[in-house]
Structures are given as structure tokens and as C-alpha cells.
């Protein structure tokens, strides 16, 4: 009706780790890029800029491959897990809509995902900024877990989303998030990456980003590696590039043990050799099981003896099984049985080998005796990583959804706060 079937909607999923953008009705997002953006105070040598002209900073989106002097890497998300840096948000939207999808923004409705704990203020701000800046004919805000649930074809489920900054567990009932059930932990993909990086540094392994050295072939397959100093590189850019390397290491070497990990296990396990970009090799032994195990046993962090800022708060870290149990206990008694039988595992941080089986086992031990537990996780890694976007793609193309859009006209009549009523 407002979105119209003739013009396809755009689905925009701005996660804490990466941005996914594409047209509704497609199987996977057409464009995926990092949510981290470069930012530099104005006044320096300006080459390519994106974002508003009145902004105080130049924002660089999706161009982390290029090292630039004095460019800080920053996230659009604040400490509280909600959008906070609106210049960065605008830069990301601009890039996704105009550079990647190259659309006339006033012709396509936009469905945006949002964290389930998003505040009213941030929701209204998103709506205002989107309508004022891009004037789409209509928009909709949908909560991440609701979309992930749709992605596996369920209107009701318990969604366990291991994301970049957070692991979030939400009960979803008939297409609505049970708002008061949500449990959250900072133990997400990024925290594990940081633990691995901190461990490597503790072991005096230097993780050198590609920009920090030159590599020349000497002949016979041998290389000469020379350090290159770029003193004006920001610490945040250096960290971003080192994290990128560790993310690859994590994805290729680290895995979950096939059963509950005990401290003295794998003492003599064969290490796996990994070659860093500068040609140095490292060998990872028991730690390749121990660190992912943090998801199930956060107490292991003490044994690792590293300081990771995102995990160093006063609040006791909770394991996934504790988050699930708490979430279910916060939910309506009538739906609990249903939740146990429809556990959905998703998010980029859930990709470890054995993840689904381990979760199944851990939850089986916690479930009441007379209920059946079942963990569903897409076998296809793309579907699991992009479940939120895929759910958005499905929702926005449903015929019955078309009457739910918040139209530009409604925005003009009632203001941005209407979104709180249209998209509860």
C-alpha cells in the first residue's frame, strides 16, 4: 500500500560489527562492509569525504584498507550498545544507499533493524534522520531477534544472537520481542577477538598489520620483511587492523571443544600452525579450545590473565546457558515450553565448530525435565551470519506487511515519535 509491490524496499542492517544492505526479496545482502568508520577532524588534507557538509569531521566509510594519517577508527555505537555517533551513522547510510545500492532514496521504502534494547530517543532519532535526509516514501524499524526468528521461518522462538559487541538472548512471540525478557552479555565475537589478541601480545607475538612492513621476494620463495614506520597512524586504526588479522586467525584455528571443557584438558594437544601476514608463524595449542569456551564458562577469563576493556566491568559475566535460562524465566509462563523447543542460534559469533551441539548439550542440562529442547541453527554460514538481514528481507516482501509501514506523510503529520506506536 505504502511501500508498494512495484518498488522493492531496501533492507538496512547496521550491526555492531558490520553493515548489511540490499533489496528485500533477495536471499542475501548485496553489500556487506564494516561498521567501523574512519574519522578525522576537519582541516587536514581532504581527499574523499562522505557525510554532511556541516559536520566537524571527515568520515571515511568502508575504506579501512587504506591507511590515512591521523584518522581514528570509531564505531557508530556507544558504550550502551545503541547508536550514538550520528555523523558516523549518516556516513554509513549515505554509503549504503547512494554508493552501494545507488538508489533514488525517495523511491524506496527502508526497513531498518535495531537492537532489541534500543531506547525511544534513539528510535525517534533514527526515524527523523532517515526521513529528513533521505525522504524515503516509508520506513519501518524491526528488532533484530524478531527478524532472525523470521529468517528461520518461525514467528515464535528464543533467539540467541552472538553478535559483534554483544550476545543477546530474546524471547520472540508471534512476531514480537518480549521486551522484558531480554538478557545480554558483552561476551560477543569482538570480545573473543580481543582476548586472543591480548593473549598473543602477552606471549610477545607481534601482530603486524600489512601497512606496517614491506615484503620483498629474495628468490627461492624467501622474503625480506622490513618494518615501515607510520608515526601518524592512530592507535585505533592500528588496533582495527590487528583485530582484522586476529579475526581470520579465530575463524580458521579456534573452535569449541565437543564437550564441556575442563581446565587440564588438551594440555598435550597438537598445536595448529598459522602464518601471520608478515610471514611469522605461530602455533596455537589448548587455547584454541579454551578461548571460545568463554561463551559457556566466562570464569576461564581469570585463568587467561588478560585485561580486555569490554569484559572488565564490575558485573559478573554470564554464560550463554545462564542468559537463556534467565530470559525464559523472564517470559510469560505460557510460552516457556514453546521457547525451549524453538531455540534459534545466529550471529557472526556463532560460527565456531561444535557451537550448535554444545549449546544443545548445555541447555539440555538446564531445561526442566518434561520439556524438549531443540536448537535450530542454519547449516549455511551465510544464513547464520546474516540472519537479521535475511529476516528483514522476508518481512519487507510479505504482502501482509505492506500496511504496517510508517509513511513519510504520517511522519510529517505526527512526527518521529509515531514510530514508537507503529513499530512496537
Amino acid at each position: 500500500m505504502y511501500g508498494g509491490d512495484e518498488v522493492s524496499a531496501v533492507v538496512l542492517d547496521l550491526g555492531t560489527h558490520s553493515v548489511k544492505a540490499g533489496y528485500a526479496g533477495q536471499d542475501t545482502p548485496q553489500h556487506v562492509f564494516t561498521s567501523s568508520v574512519g574519522a578525522r577532524a576537519k582541516g587536514g588534507d581532504v581527499d574523499m569525504t562522505e557525510g554532511g557538509s556541516q559536520s566537524s569531521r571527515d568520515i571515511f566509510v568502508d575504506s579501512m584498507g587504506i591507511r590515512r594519517d591521523e584518522v581514528d577508527v570509531t564505531s557508530p555505537y556507544g558504550e550502551n550498545g545503541m547508536l550514538e555517533d550520528w555523523e558516523a551513522v549518516e556516513g554509513i547510510w549515505e554509503h549504503a544507499l547512494k554508493k552501494c545500492l545507488t538508489i533514488q532514496t525517495d523511491e524506496h521504502p527502508v526497513l531498518m533493524s535495531e537492537p532489541v534494547h534500543n531506547s525511544d530517543g534513539v528510535r525517534s532519532k533514527m526515524v527523523e534522520l532517515m526521513f529528513e535526509k533521505y525522504a524515503p516514501p516509508a520506513l519501518f524499524l524491526a528488532k533484530n531477534p524478531v527478524l532472525s526468528s523470521f529468517a528461520v521461518g518461525k514467528a515464535s522462538s528464543l533467539v540467541i544472537d552472538i553478535g559483534g559487541r554483544n550476545t543477546t538472548v530474546t524471547a520472540v512471540h508471534e512476531g514480537y520481542a518480549l521486551q522484558k525478557s531480554v538478557t545480554r552479555s558483552p561476551l560477543g565475537g569482538e570480545a573473543l577477538t580481543d582476548v586472543i589478541l591480548a593473549r598473543l601480545e602477552k606471549q610477545k607475538v607481534e601482530v603486524r598489520p600489512r601497512y606496517a612492513f614491506t615484503k620483498k621476494e629474495k628468490g627461492d620463495g624467501e622474503f625480506t620483511v622490513k618494518a615501515v614506520n607510520h608515526p601518524k597512524t592512530s592507535a585505533s586504526y592500528s588496533l582495527f587492523k590487528r583485530r582484522e588479522i586476529v579475526e581470520d586467525l579465530k575463524a580458521t584455528v579456534y573452535q569449541l571443544n565437543d564437550h564441556f571443557f575442563r581446565g587440564d584438558e588438551h594440555k598435550n594437544v597438537a598445536g595448529i600452525t598459522y602464518e601471520l601476514p608478515d610471514g611469522n608463524t605461530i602455533e596455537v595449542g589448548a587455547e584454541r579450545f579454551q578461548i571460545p569456551e568463554l561463551l559457556f564458562q566466562p570464569d576461564i577469563l581469570k585463568d587467561l590473565d588478560v585485561n580486555v576493556p569490554s569484559l572488565s566491568g564490575d558485573v559478573k559475566l554470564k554464560s550463554i546457558q545462564e542468559l537463556v535460562l534467565e530470559c525464559i524465566n523472564n517470559s510469560d509462563v505460557d510460552v516457556r515450553k514453546d521457547l525451549w523447543g524453538n531455540l534459534v542460534l545466529c550471529g557472526g559469533g556463532s560460527m565456531f565448530t561444535n557451537m550448535r551441539e554444545r549449546l544443545d548439550g548445555a541447555l539440555f542440562d538446564h531445561a526442566p525435565q518434561n520439556v524438549k529442547t531443540k536448537v535450530v541453527a542454519s547449516m549455511n554460514s551465510v544464513e547464520r551470519r546474516f540472519s537479521t538481514w535475511i529476516g528483514g528481507s522476508i518481512l519487507a516482501s510479505l504482502g501482509s506487511f505492506q500496511q504496517l509501514w510508517m509513511s513519510k506523510q504520517e511522519y510529517e503529520e505526527h512526527g518521529a515519535n509515531l514510530v514508537l506506536r507503529k513499530c512496537p
Binding site: 512471540h173 518480549l178 521486551q179 522484558k180 523472564n330 510469560d332 505460557d334 504496517l404 507503529k422
Partner: protein
């Protein structure tokens, strides 16, 4: 009570954003915080003091009361979201039925819908009606 009848009639019809009727609620009611019904539509299942007390408690403390659900006229709905902060609570019974309860200074506005409408649509409508009551000082 004819003035209430007129209000109930306008509460019953859910308008689409373009002004046309999107559909009708299956039942609706306006009652005070003690459970006294001021006006109700046909087929409204009823509302009483006990249910009103439970609703007040849910509004005040949705986190602790979430597991109890929303009970209107003896039918139980799974509590979805809301509370005093939002001025509204929303619930679902099965996949077809939903309820939206708006709390104003002195009244509850209760809208119950079937599968012809989405709880989201009903919510925007009932909340707008709540604004009207509030503007009348109720």
C-alpha cells in the same frame, strides 16, 4: 450512556494511515482503574476489579509481572511489551488475537482484535484514542 456509545463506536474502527478503515476491533472497552466499565462494545468479554488490579501492577512493574500475562474478561494474553513508561501494554493470544491496553490518568482503553488486524496497527490506533481521552482530562 449514549456519549460512551459514540466513543466506543469510534474506538472500534481502526483507520488506515490514509484515512480509510483498515478494519474493526473484535471488541473494546473503556473502564476506570478500579475495573468499573464506562462503555463497552458488543462481544466485549468483561472486565473486573481483580483484572484491573493486576493490570495496574503490570503497568507499574512490567519486569516482575511479565510472566503473569494480561487477563481481560477471563482470557489470558501473553504479555509482549510496554508499561507505565510507554503508557500502554500489548499482548497476544495464539497467533490471531491481540490486546492493547492504554492507561490514561483515570481510565483504561482496551482494544481486542482478531486476525483481520495486526497488533501493531491496533496499538497505534488505541494509543491515539488514549491521547484523545487524556486531552479531555480523563
Amino acid at each position: 450512556m449514549s456519549s460512551w456509545d459514540a466513543m466506543i463506536d469510534s474506538l472500534r474502527v481502526v483507520a488506515a494511515p490514509d484515512g480509510t478503515a483498515a478494519g474493526a476491533l473484535s471488541a473494546c472497552c473503556i473502564a476506570d482503574h478500579a475495573g468499573n466499565v464506562w462503555g463497552q462494545s458488543e462481544h466485549f468479554p468483561g472486565f473486573n476489579a481483580e483484572e484491573a488490579t493486576a493490570l495496574m501492577a503490570l503497568f507499574a512493574n512490567p519486569i516482575d509481572r511479565a510472566s503473569e500475562g494480561i487477563v481481560i474478561g477471563g482470557s489470558r494474553y501473553v504479555f509482549l511489551n510496554g508499561g507505565d513508561e510507554d503508557g500502554v501494554v500489548r499482548g497476544k493470544r495464539g497467533s490471531e488475537h491481540g490486546v492493547v491496553v492504554v492507561k490514561t490518568k483515570t481510565a483504561f482503553v482496551i482494544g481486542i482484535h482478531g486476525d483481520n488486524l495486526e497488533t501493531r496497527q491496533v496499538s497505534a490506533h488505541v494509543e491515539q484514542f488514549g491521547d484523545y481521552l487524556s486531552s479531555q482530562g480523563m
